[in-house]
Subunit: 411 residues, 4 copies
């Protein structure tokens, strides 16, 4: 029997606010009602809005980025009940395809204001900024960052099964403890449950209130189920193995990215987009014990854009911060320094720091842990692919400042 | 005029103790006397002992690892004066080849005792252990870790130019301050200058004493010059750009690795070996300012072993430690958890934890910073290449415990 | 101004016969009227029917393959007039994407009967046969060839600009001469113009008659313009440079392939499909002289599925045929022998010869000219990717016949 | 027990004529006496002279190429008896490494005179020419072809087991028949046995005479045993499966190449060198039947230089020759045309045709059979890696003639 077009398990309407969609939600909680059922072995298409639910526009001002309402995010499509899935099983998620929506061939990368969301380099770059990317089939380019063009390694930033009540309690307890411990710091170290703007599909009343009170925020990925892992090579053709915590798995997906660099450093750092993902679901009974699984695992697809190992410039960073302070094997400090090294290098061509910060967030840079044992210095590296630039960026090549425009800033 | 065999700028004799070699030294200091001069534009061969200077033997006991004398390491070959190089220049190091010594076709990976050196997972795995690797041309295998074989991505763990007196002072100050700050911790957080076993070629007397008193230890890589970066893809065909701090650059190299995994997690974690490196040196006048360089950069060679992006299993780890404690964007914690996830997975086949710990240290695993902004969790990933195993390790494949022997332990 | 959805320069209706489409044609001739105009610099989507115009069905009989009407093929979409293009220019065709049609997620590979079309191995395998492939996002699999699954390297088999009257005459003359020279052979060596079933969009009358009388058949690729090159890596992200022979270029495209092996050996050998191609057109004025161009050139995209160089089994073939006859540097004979070597190898697992013949035609095999000067033997190689099989095909692995079903045959 | 340095199964002395070496021979014949025995499972090093036995010098004249004595070639090292190997077995040859000799860091590429050896394009380029390549670790460059530098994909051009008497007779019969059939052509279509300059190690008298009378020339690869296959990716880490025809296998190897392009078009077209190959031999009993093997197969190593699929310019060629004559699916004609297309393209930069002809012979170009069924045209492609040039060769880049010197010609 011929195979026909695939079933859409969910569609979205970008002309309607995300918060009016019955098949979206923005918290992790076992009681978020399922919006549909998918058979074990079935392949479906699932449409997703961008992670902010359409708050960011295709224009040349970063005012929307500055004013983004972070109590609303992330809008995920689902949850879906997968037939036969039970706690202890592994849900095998075969990502057959990810695509932008036909009539929405663009995405955005944002730098959040230090006062509202921030990002990895916000002490140095506190201002909001934005770049809009136009999709050109497999490639993308931006009027806000001239001189670069690259193929997207397209992927979902978030996918996962719902936590059980027990898992959810673990999350709230341990993140609550961190918040308590760090209450003296002038820093948002974690996000507790937030009733404001909670969205649970069409659900109102007690359940909505409960989810608002208890539901885990979608910002962090978490070891027990994955979630917002922001893994750049979880792309077309990847197979993900997710632990199941509740009957029916209650799978959700969203936060689609056209491309992302390792670290997704500006927080709104991928090329964020609305789109459609095609997934085949299958259930591996008893998989958690069989695989000795504590966190998700995955096998990437074979179609990652390939530049050749010799077509990268690599930068090194260590756990000594920009003020000369030495840290003990602090890989986060090291990675931040590595980012600064790339920014310093690319400024030679006429780019503004904010443009490079945006670019490092979303372009396919390779961020590696190089050495993590040579006390006191962690060493991390970032590989910057030369071939995304339309000019020669090798150290030997002539530099010459270029006219490279500007990203979008707030007014 | 035909090109003839290359000049050896240094040879070593593995039958003689490292500390009797006049062309080796084991501290960073501007006053370590040069052991030879190399022309700008010249290509030479440089032989190196293994980083411990031959303390580790090709046998089946880890007693030598347990008893290693860490005041002696790392034995570096050099320093070499590069003609015309001056402070502010960049020394371009074209690594044309790296090879083991013909009559020494083996290397070692060690797990140091928690009491003597330790490593990234030493709280969990405190015992000394060892694996010997036999080189088979481009490949290697170990009687201590059956079932794996892989091609080496051969590279120097350490290369760099000597610090100036000023740079050296910066190092000693900032690392000293860390030691002071952490004096309450039961942990070696950094290594201060150490007169014991200092080696400065043939030099005795005042200079030796001064180097012992002031010379920076070789363990950490440092932002100002590179040093012990332990970067796995700094391999054959790579071009490294190093800042020059003293007249003549005073370049040293050593700590050759047949292969290493990202992080080099067990500290003595690469496949450590004696060998020979072929380098063409050239001087880029004024390169530091021209490249806006604060730390070394490099361009890898084109011959990295390639498995195909879909031939890895990827594991995820987050900044929640094994006791359930939540950390704030701590990428070091996340990477440690990722390591544990791989160990749990591979144990299914009958490997001992220590065997896997050794394997992760030296096999070509890809350690990536995935997400570093989703408070409070950093997410790191490790890609484990399937094709280094001679059995099928995909999640779907039958598991079945195998007879996989044992690594070497101490008596 | 935000970028909106792309314009469709042509749509097709798979429920309507190809020969009723006004935007399709099936001969090369300068007088085929343009079906639309595209601006220099514009990006458009172009839908295409499969090369046979829907003659082959998604079923389990090869009767349709046996009875295919080859006077009808290939149905191409176009021709399109590209503004500003003139003879001597080069038309730069940036293939931004190629996709199957959403409601048509399947394709076919056929072996034509020796009596009707034939193929590269038709002396040995004269029977018609067929495999239907189901698309699963980037991957495909077939109920007719169990045990394999692979990512498509999706591409157009045919693209080109219309010949000028002069170029057309050259083609008809030289192919006519070959037909004359070979008239004693019992073989279709080339296809002269064929009025039967000629299709020129909506055009009737004199022009249609003229095209039928003079129009070049679409079967061969030709040096002057490309055409049916059947090049497997002319895929997503490729940029093709085509010589322009007539005012407006009159560009046509069709014969979309989900995947193809080097040689496309069974003639209907790719995974043939209907689909949509997204192209940005730009005109390089005077490009033919500037590039010294006699035939098209192209730069492939970066997203080719990657298996790793060591994940292929390579087979060797020489210019000695299966009867032991020696040929002089005949690379065609050598390639045929190489194909036989793969078939013999894969039969060990229980595949039927026809299944393998189909598979070699469409799977991403690498067909190389190895040595072409060692008289009297050309040597060609075929690299068969191991990872498209769900069992281990390395020579060392246990063989064991499997239950591998059957491809479709004619009744 | 520690592994020590490998045994040399053969050494060569480049200061001594090849024809005085007792461990070399230059014909295929079962009676060539073995020069040593290798255990099943043993790994050894084998030194080889270059294929001409030192006839070509590192200088700037092609007189030696013009005057080369082709009755002498190819000097192979061996044959070696492999213990336990018998007819019907497969000899598994694990190529662990291939390296140039330390004191001989150079190689040569030659274009033979049309009157003495010729090559693939000798009708167009009849003159002798030469390029000397200097090895720089994994890379090479040539004073005779400025502007290019690339990593070698180093490999043996020839390896194989001795033919049995029966196999030898088959060869002599079928090649003799071709010579007879083509006796009217003004062309060397195959090389019959040639007593002149036959070399059989130290052997004199009857055996030498017999080998001279019957021994197969080493020029062609042959399906029954491989031989001079000139396969560019049979490199470090490859595993080759060779059919055994005589007791002890009598394995020989030689004709080492630092690099070669697909086709090795100029005949002396690789970067020819003396060197040393490290091989582990093992015997697969009954392997010929088990693998259904008629010709050798191999699995390449994982360290092939990687440029990224999008870093090639591809050229197309068809079976219409340079005089406009149409051939029927003649892939040899098509490949020749493809070569001409590359030459025309690269001439734009100031290279001489002979320089490009040499470069195409030895650089890692990808020569593919694209379409081989679209009557009457075969289509082949050549992928030229952009990154071997030190200037930008993309069609869009500025051209500008450069000062690119000259290859060596005869006086």
């Amino acid at each position: 029997m011929p195979k026909s077009a695939l079933r859409y398990a969910a569609k979205v309407d970008l002309d309607k606010p995300a918060w009016e969609h019955e098949n979206l939600h923005n918290r992790w909680h076992p009681d978020v009602p399922a919006v549909g059922t998918i058979k074990n072995g079935e392949t479906v298409k699932i449409e997703c809005v961008d992670w902010t639910g359409g708050q960011i526009k295709n224009d040349d001002s970063a005012n929307d980025v500055r004013d983004v309402d972070l109590t609303r995010i992330h809008y995920l499509t689902g949850p879906f009940e997968i037939e036969t899935a039970e706690p202890g099983d592994v849900l095998v998620v075969d990502i057959q395809d990810v695509q932008p929506l036909d009539d929405h061939p663009w995405g955005f990368t944002g730098i959040f204001s230090r006062e509202n969301g921030g990002g990895f380099l916000d002490d140095t770059y506190p201002k909001p900024a934005k770049a809009i990317w136009d999709f050109e089939g497999i490639n993308c380019s931006s009027r806000h960052i001239p001189g670069v063009r690259f193929a997207g390694l397209i992927h979902p930033g978030i996918l996962g099964c719902a936590p059980s009540a027990e898992v959810l309690k673990t999350w709230n307890d341990r993140e609550g403890q961190l918040i308590t411990e760090c209450s003296h710091m002038d820093k948002v170290v974690a996000l507790p449950p937030e009733p404001k703007s909670v969205h649970v599909g069409s659900t109102e009343g007690d359940i909505k209130e409960k989810v608002g009170r208890e539901g885990a925020r979608t910002v962090p990925g978490r070891p027990e189920h994955g979630g917002n892992c922001d893994i750049k090579n979880l792309s077309r053709g990847s197979k993900v193995y997710l632990p199941v915590h509740v009957k029916g798995a209650k799978f959700s997906v969203g936060d689609l990215h056209f491309s992302q660099g390792d670290g997704e450093i500006s927080f709104c750092g991928a090329i964020e987009m609305a789109g459609v993902i095609t997934i085949k679901f299958s259930v591996m009974k008893g998989g958690v014990a069989h695989l000795g699984m504590k966190s998700p695992i995955y096998i990437p697809g074979p179609v990652e854009p390939q530049f050749g190992p010799g077509r990268y410039i690599y930068f090194e960073g260590f756990s000594v911060d920009e003020h000369g302070k030495q840290y003990y094997l602090d890989t986060t400090v090291a990675y931040r320094q590595t980012c600064f090294r790339v920014i310093e290098y690319l400024k030679r061509y006429g780019y503004d720091d904010y443009q490079i910060y945006l670019l490092l967030s979303c372009a396919p840079i390779q961020g590696h842990v190089a050495g993590i044992v040579d006390v006191p210095n962690s060493c991390t590296t970032i590989g910057l692919p030369m071939d995304i630039f339309d000019f020669d960026i090798r150290p030997e090549a002539p530099t010459g400042k270029r006219e490279l425009g500007s990203c979008a800033f707030a007014s």
